[in-house]
């Protein structure tokens, strides 16, 4: 009697309180949005690492041109900031140009491959094989072909960026709900309407996950391109610093590269939230 009463009251509460409790554990949170407020452990870990590094360099008597202490890197970053800022502008310009081209090319390519299976069959293996060629081995060729200007860097960035976008976006286009597809078909929707109403919005999350990876890669791509021969840019700055044994400046550039990569990643994430306003509700949806 008592038993049935208690299960009865549990049923009355229904599933209302349960999702709330589970949500607290973050099960339906999108990865990366969870610990925003809880920065303590990360900061502490970072500070401890920096402190160990600092102590190791000072107590061990490691020379500056082998490994500078974090404090020295910080000082060097502030001191040479005007110069670094100029190089950063060049690198950022190359990275963003290459990234935008890559996304545009991927979009068209994925659209065509999704619409015409024959083209997908023909191109997809080539795309995959093209990714097995280490970019660092062909980048010098671009310098030979296109010189020391912006173009070879933009090409490297485009090559690095476009693969993750095209693969994930096409996966998204092909993975749309079959029943939703049939529903639109039964209402007489054209292929273009199905793309606009179902495929494109359905594939946006995949497109954005590809773009987030690419955005972070774009800075690295530009730096690699510059490293192999350039007039300006963070890669060129790093190469120059290395040659003059100013390792502290190299580290300063690394910090800037890291911040830039994180920055473009976050910008894509903001764009994602802005273009997909439903996602914050959908993440909470019970299945």
């Amino acid at each position: 009697m008592k038993r049935s009463a208690s299960t009865g009251s549990k049923k009355d509460l229904g599933c209302r309180p349960l999702p709330g409790v589970r949500r607290k554990h973050g099960r339906w949170r999108q990865p990366g949005t969870g610990g925003r407020r809880d920065l303590g452990p990360q900061l502490a870990a970072g500070l401890i690492l920096a402190a160990l590094w600092e102590a190791g360099v000072r107590l061990g008597g490691v020379p500056d041109f082998i490994l500078p202490a974090p404090s020295q890197v910080a000082v060097s970053l502030v001191k040479s900031f005007p110069i670094i800022a100029g190089h950063t502008r060049v690198t950022l310009y190359e990275a963003m140009t290459g990234f935008v081209i890559a996304v545009a090319v991927s979009f068209v390519l994925a659209f065509v491959m999704d619409g015409v299976p024959v083209i997908k069959k023909a191109l997809y293996p080539i795309l995959v094989i093209s990714q097995t060629i280490p970019i660092i081995t062909i980048a010098p060729l671009f310098v030979i072909w296109f010189g020391y200007g912006l173009l070879p860097k933009v090409i490297v960035v485009t090559l690095v960026c476009f693969f993750p976008v095209v693969v994930s976006f096409m996966g998204g286009l092909q993975g749309v709900d079959g029943e939703m597809y049939d529903l639109l078909k039964s209402m007489g929707a054209s292929r273009m309407q199905i793309f606009r109403l179902l495929k494109l919005p359905g594939a946006l999350p995949s497109l954005f996950s590809g773009m987030k990876i690419s955005a972070a890669y774009s800075i690295m791509g530009a730096v690699i391109g510059e490293w192999l021969g350039a007039k300006a840019g963070l890669g060129e700055f790093m190469r120059r610093s290395m040659h003059s044994f100013a390792v502290d400046k190299t580290f300063a550039a690394i910090i800037v590269i890291t911040v830039l990569s994180l920055g473009v990643f976050e910008i894509i994430k903001l764009l994602e939230g802005w273009l997909m306003p439903w996602a914050k509700y959908a993440a909470r949806q019970e299945e």
Binding site: M180, A189, Q193, G202, M276, A282
Partner: protein, 244 residues
């Protein structure tokens, strides 16, 4: 003339006979149920009636015209709501109108009139994931209604809801149909639901499905929660149960 009539429908799936000589009809404003075990081919019948599949034999007549194998004449609602998570309820509901080529603003204005009728007033700008299961089904029904309003095929529309919500939705459906005046073919495997909603019930056999018996539900309208305990209801339920 019957509003919708299917005569002698047979269908095979590869070597498997799914439907065998099915004939049924619905008059204008009638709600006719197809009651049968799960997987007996009821959904295949709906695919045929909606024109998505061609039958191996038989005809689909709507307003006396042959519509066999021609899609787009009737609207069809599935058990799953199939609302697009990235569109608001309003923008989900107007999808049929958008496909037809109407302007967004005009379509929205047209659909907006029906939100109070479907109990969705104030939820136009919500996303599907913000709504309860019952409300999502109502939104899906409104979208179905926006496609074709005079004949709707409902394939276990409340099958995914909990028992309490389902009961409420059944009463709600009867009320809203009073206002809409649509002709409904309704698939269910719930005997109570079939009796409560229908003017007529076609009891199907197991696969290959054929019509085992037709029951006329002579229970007065409007029906309410008391209907479920009335004598007529129980007598009808008994005779259906005997046949299963």
């Amino acid at each position: 003339m019957k509003k919708i009539e299917v005569t002698g429908i047979s269908s095979k799936y590869e070597d498997l006979r799914v439907l065998e000589d099915i004939s049924l009809y619905a008059d204008e404003r009638e709600l006719v149920s197809i009651l049968g075990p799960s997987g007996c081919g009821k959904s295949t019948l709906f695919n045929i009636i909606s024109g998505l599949i061609k039958p191996d034999a038989g005809k689909v007549l709507i307003d006396g015209e042959d519509h066999t194998g021609k899609p787009g004449r009737v609207s069809y609602m599935h058990q799953k709501d199939l609302l697009f998570p990235w569109r608001t309820i309003m923008d989900n509901v107007i999808i049929p109108l958008v496909i037809r080529g109407e302007g967004i603003e005009k379509a929205r204005a047209q659909a907006d009139k029906y939100f109070p009728v479907f109990g969705l007033e104030g939820f136009q700008d919500r996303y599907p994931s913000q709504l309860s299961g019952g409300m999502r089904q109502r939104a899906a029904l409104l979208r179905t209604y926006m496609f074709k309003s005079d004949i709707m095929l409902l394939d276990e529309p409340f099958g995914g809801l909990d028992a309490i919500t389902r009961r409420k939705m059944q009463e709600w459906l009867l009320q809203v149909l009073e206002k809409l005046g649509s002709t409904i073919l309704f698939i269910t495997h719930d005997i109570d639901e079939a009796i409560f909603l229908s003017d007529r019930i076609y009891l199907f056999t197991e696969r290959p499905a054929s019509v085992r018996r037709v029951f006329t539900v002579d229970i007065d309208r409007p029906r309410g929660s008391k209907t479920f305990t009335s004598d007529r209801f129980n007598r009808l339920k008994e005779s259906i149960l005997e046949l299963l």
